[in-house]
Amino acid sequence: MLTADPDADLEFSLAEMRRQRKRKRLADVHIIDALYRADLTALVGGGAIYALAGAIGDTPLNAGQLDSVTAHGAGWLGLAMAFAVAIGLRSGSRGGPLVLEQAEVRHVLLAPVDRTTAVRGPALRQVRFLVFVAILVGAVVGILTARRLDGNAAAWTACGALYAAVAVTVSYGAALCAAAWRLPSWIGTTIGAALVALALVDGLDVVNLSPLTAWGEIGMWPEGFGLLGLAALVVSVTVLLVGFVRVGDLSVEAAERRSTLVGQLRFAATLQDLRTVIVLRRQLAIELPRLRPWLRLPVRGTGRLPVWTRDWRGILRWPAARVGRLALLAVSAGLALRGAWEGTTPLLGLAGVALFIAGLDAVEPLAQEVDHPSRAETIPVERGVVHVRHLPAAVAVMVLVAIVGAAVALALEPSVGGLAVAAVCVVPAALGGVAGAVTSVLSDPVLGGGGDAWALVAPEAAGMRLVMRTAWPPALAIGGTLPLLAARSAAEHNTSAVGAALTASILVVAVFALVVGWVRWRDDLHAAIERALPSKPEPGAKDRTRET
């Protein structure tokens, strides 16, 4: 048997072997590939700056607006910082922020090499890159902001860069600490949500309790230097240093789970394959169905409504985390709808997106059917018929979600008129969410999907298809909230809000009926299109290959 040299410098060996691998990798990089990537990055960066410049604008603010920025700027920047910390805590409580190669987890983390030394290098490279990007983005935002604000442009640029760098520092440090202390995911999420909530009420000037407003001061230093910001800077660096000292205490189990799933997750995200992203994200969060359902439905032989029953058996096994997420989405949608009712129309988009995401959970039984296409081929019923039979349970779940949302919206300012409008808006909102989700789940991934029918379309249409495929499902969900807009408009013109909402609801129901028709007959439609292709053989029904 081989023996180990007790005096061997294992960490040096590791560093040397990594250097060799890096040299090998660099030798394999082709100059044209590198130039192409640089070119692409420059193009994307340029586009982003252009879009940002348009969003920020260049008209100098008036005195009142400047006073408002001075008074509330730190609070709102604190809110952005709270989001950064929440993301860090969530990532760390799930084994992040590092994503090690799976072989590194198996062979390096299980070797008697000092884990802190082994992991510190990759962590340092990652944070270095993130800080560099943050400085660039922060500086650009600073330059653009300076055109509208008082003060020295160089100061705004420097503070913008510093604020962004500190945001990355504290977020990354929080993630490292959460991973090292093996913070349970629910605790990480709760702390993050609490910080965001505190920062939000601080930003709204309701209660000034958010500790992260101090971080916001860094971005506002050109308006006046404060020591609190300096203290925040010191705390951020300290958190990162503590994270680096404890980086070796990470959970190997979490690191391996992350290494296995994150690569697939990124690939699926690149293909904009939302369903795969959802499935992998659940695996990353260990979101498993409950062994003991919330309520056990007795099995009494073959029932009359097998799909409906099967759906509820699955839904009743949803883990608490998913139920909690749906509740949170319902609350978010309710708050956004209330804001839209008060006059902030863009909040309808936020509400629609929340309902769309909730819908993706609600159509889970249907999505599982789609994930396993061979199952549908083994039953003597058309696939479209089975898919349509999955919809009632999804609608029922979404009605519950919409009722919670409506209750939240009403609770802010209860009224009989508001109750009537909310009651009318519940069903369309639910139908919109389901329509968006079901369209997303049943459509092919944006890239790499589409089948032969797309061979007929000019390549120039690919971009438009990409945009349509990405935007259409959430747009359907947003469409479900339109009755509220109609009701608001009617109320503003002193006509019947409920009547307007009902009229708009008919439109939503009609759109939903079209979606149901598409679900039922889409195979026939595809078959008809593909039969029109002269050189292609008879099409098969199977078009998804996510069988596991």
Binding site: L2, T3, A4, A8, R21, R25, D114, R182, V252
Partner: protein, 227 residues
């Protein structure tokens, strides 16, 4: 002097939410002992091996390897784990893998040492090829070479014969015998009842619970865990 066990588990359990993958388990394995870990699919064999290797976090209890808590540096130096699904680098050849892993364990092995091992498992002609392009069986052989190119006191092997051809299986059985003769404890999780004839003790698991711990014949194994 108190003799250290190669492995000692006390109330070791792994629970995922409401799923008990491994119920609290007490088990001691002496140095040089050969153990067959048997059980049907989902019985907890792989979970136990991964816990002992330090790949999974314990929910309850403790596991010690040569008297050190699992996951600590001495324990990591003492355990070699051969997984059922090989995990290898995409950009390293078989020989480079062996050099890397040997270096990480402080072994100064000569190229001849690598070649001897590779020759025994029939991988020498492919020594400079990338395992990323290998078949399942060849990747399994690479994994075996990587697992044996370093010193250890405890060898954990998960479903070792899956994907191996007859010569590969015979070579592995020989190597396991040699490892045992060199004084290392060997724990092999397998579905093959006949393997119990080659070991000192059989540990059977069912639904995460230990249902047998002692000698057993192949027919007794079939009775315990099913065919």
């Amino acid at each position: 002097m108190k003799r250290k066990y190669a492995l000692s588990a006390s109330g070791a359990a792994k629970i995922y939410g409401d799923l008990v993958a491994l119920a609290p388990l007490d088990l001691a394995i002496k140095q040089g002992e050969r153990i067959a870990l048997v059980g049907h699919n989902g019985s907890g064999k792989s979970t136990f091996l991964r816990l002992a290797a330090g790949l999974l976090d314990l929910t309850e209890g403790t596991i010690k390897v040569i008297g050190e808590p699992v996951g600590t540096s001495p324990a990591r130096a003492a355990v070699s784990f051969l997984p059922d699904e090989p995990v290898l680098y995409d950009d390293l050849s078989v020989r480079e893998h062996m050099a890397y892993i040997a270096a990480l364990h402080g072994v100064e092995a000569s190229p001849e040492t690598f070649d001897t091992l590779l020759d025994r498992i029939g991988l020498l002609p492919r020594a400079d090829d990338l395992p990323a392009r290998f078949s399942r069986g060849l990747r399994q052989k690479t994994s075996i070479a990587v697992g044996l190119v370093r010193p250890f006191n405890l060898l954990l092997v998960d479903e070792p014969f899956v994907g191996l051809d007859v010569s590969g299986k015979e070579a592995l059985l020989e190597l396991l015998e040699e490892v045992h003769n060199d004084g290392a404890a060997v724990v092999v999780a397998t579905h093959d009842p006949s393997y119990v004839e080659r070991v000192d003790r059989c540990v059977a698991l069912r639904d995460g619970q230990m249902i047998h711990n002692g000698p057993a014949t192949p027919s007794e194994v079939v009775e315990l865990v099913g065919a």
